[in-house]
Symmetry: C2
Subunit: 301 residues, 2 copies
């Protein structure tokens, strides 16, 4: 099935205990796309400024990413994010955000993309998520993410977005903030009450909880000690998950679980190096090998 992602495309400067990566390719849609293309071609919808480096365009073209929806806006600048991780690298400390073009009007979905069947709306203003959905016809699976800013300031719009999508992938802290519940089963049940047919609550190094009408499932994170830069783990997780779902065209709870295992493995790769460097090195076979190892770890007979 055709897979579309909308989200940020940015220039990141990230410092971790392993060093600093200056002005590297980043953004939610980028991390999503490099994971998703391990399973399925991706249509990218987003906006960058005139300063967006040609080298990044070349990097994006190394994978099956259709850039027809990548708008380069005249007179605007690309989104920039500067952050550092310390110690256990559990959380990024944002040192600077220049929204730049992201503070302007949103991207347009090209007419050729309007028939996209699987759609991921990465975190952005919930009204913009609704607008983007409105430009699509005949979607089969729509999934969104969000963040604390919109939960705090645009709750009603966010609930409206959630009532329009089939699934939500959200981190645990934000899911708790949104639902005002602590226990993750309770949290996930409230998320489903907003409308989605499934909810995936991401717990970082602790894995994820999937809630469907069938009840909860838990998927641990792939255990790894090779963590260079956690940036992009969540979006890579979403990308691997939806890339697999789009490839298989099966949205049953059992297959969503299979997809989440792929997403988890994609996340375990992206954190092994800065930016999407590691994703450029790996192939589908590397993912499959790790998926098999992971399934073996999870197997209890």
């Amino acid at each position: 099935m055709s897979l579309l992602v909308t989200g940020s495309i940015g220039i990141d400067t990230v410092t971790t205990p392993h060093g600093t990566a200056n002005d590297v390719l980043g953004g939610t849609a980028v991390n999503f796309a490099f994971a998703a293309t391990l399973f399925s071609p991706v249509r990218l919808v987003g906006v960058v400024g005139e300063d967006f480096p040609d080298a990044f365009r070349t990097t994006l073209s190394k994978r099956e990413i259709d850039l027809a929806g990548l708008e380069t806006r005249k007179g605007s600048k690309t989104f920039r994010w500067t952050a550092k991780y310390e110690g256990a690298m559990a959380e990024a400390e944002t040192l600077g955000v220049d929204l730049n073009v992201l503070a302007e009007h949103g991207p347009k979905v090209p007419a050729d993309f309007a028939d996209s069947e699987v759609v991921f709306l990465a975190n952005t203003h919930p009204k913009l998520q609704q607008e983007l959905l409105g430009q699509l016809a005949g979607t089969k699976l729509t999934v969104c993410d969000t963040m604390n800013l919109w939960i705090a300031n645009e709750r009603d719009e966010l609930l409206r977005t959630l009532s329009m999508v089939d699934g939500v992938i959200i981190n645990d802290g934000e899911a708790r903030q949104l639902t005002q519940k602590h226990n993750l089963i309770d949290v996930a049940e409230v998320l489903l009450s907003y409308g989605p047919k499934f909810a995936v609550v991401k717990k970082g190094e602790h894995g994820a909880l999937l809630m469907t009408a069938d009840g909860p499932s838990v998927i641990p994170a792939y255990p790894t000690s090779r963590v260079v830069d956690p940036t992009g783990a969540g979006d890579s997780f979403a990308g691997g998950t939806l890339g697999y779902l789009s490839h298989s065209g099966d949205f049953s709870p059992a297959n969503i679980k299979r997809a989440i295992v792929r997403g988890t493995v994609c996340a375990s790769f992206v954190i092994e190096d800065f930016s999407i460097n590691r994703m450029l090195e790996i192939k589908r076979k590397d993912v499959d090998d790790r998926v098999n190892k992971f399934c073996e770890m999870l197997r209890v007979d």
Copy 2:
């Protein structure tokens, strides 16, 4: 195989958002035993004071717990612990500890128990753990737990205990404190370097990591929203794990994983009520039913 546990037997007063349980049966060995006896009879070794209520003895005798190693020491008082959990109940706040008899000399292993094959040394002074091991002959599987106090103050003795046991079951915070590593794979590898053939790092609501010579495995916690009192979860986990191992007599990595699934399920029951109340209500079939449900959740084909 015969299974022996040594650890505390106490009188707890615990407050959670669900209420207060005053002067109830508690202690590491007690929580261990009520989980373990779902799979295997247990030999209990520990000391209480003259004030230990007869009603608690009656409760202990409701399960296959051999009390020949339960010393009631004249002139001494039973260990008491008062604590409260707030909000998400992630951690107990200790309001009072009266070590009482636990501050005196340790218990003696009865001659009839010296041939015990599977042994769990719940958290206590590492020198006492060594003494207890010294009273046993022909053990097939010895496993210990420990706590921050001994890691900070009795590190050398603790490392000596670890060099004498086959396995360690320890929580993540304490394991990090002991190994001076953060990443749990690194932590578990250092634990194995101390001597044990396997290490189980408990992550509370996030499950556990098992490390053996075969590498790491991850087991999530059984997802539940019914949490009344988290007290005893860790010891119930250890009890279910070793009870199952003792029952099966198979200490292979694959079977340790099966055992941990049982331990996880035991922990998911004990937290559903105060003290060991819930454990008194359930039978092996309840555990098996939940194990099957959990394995189904974990299954990725």
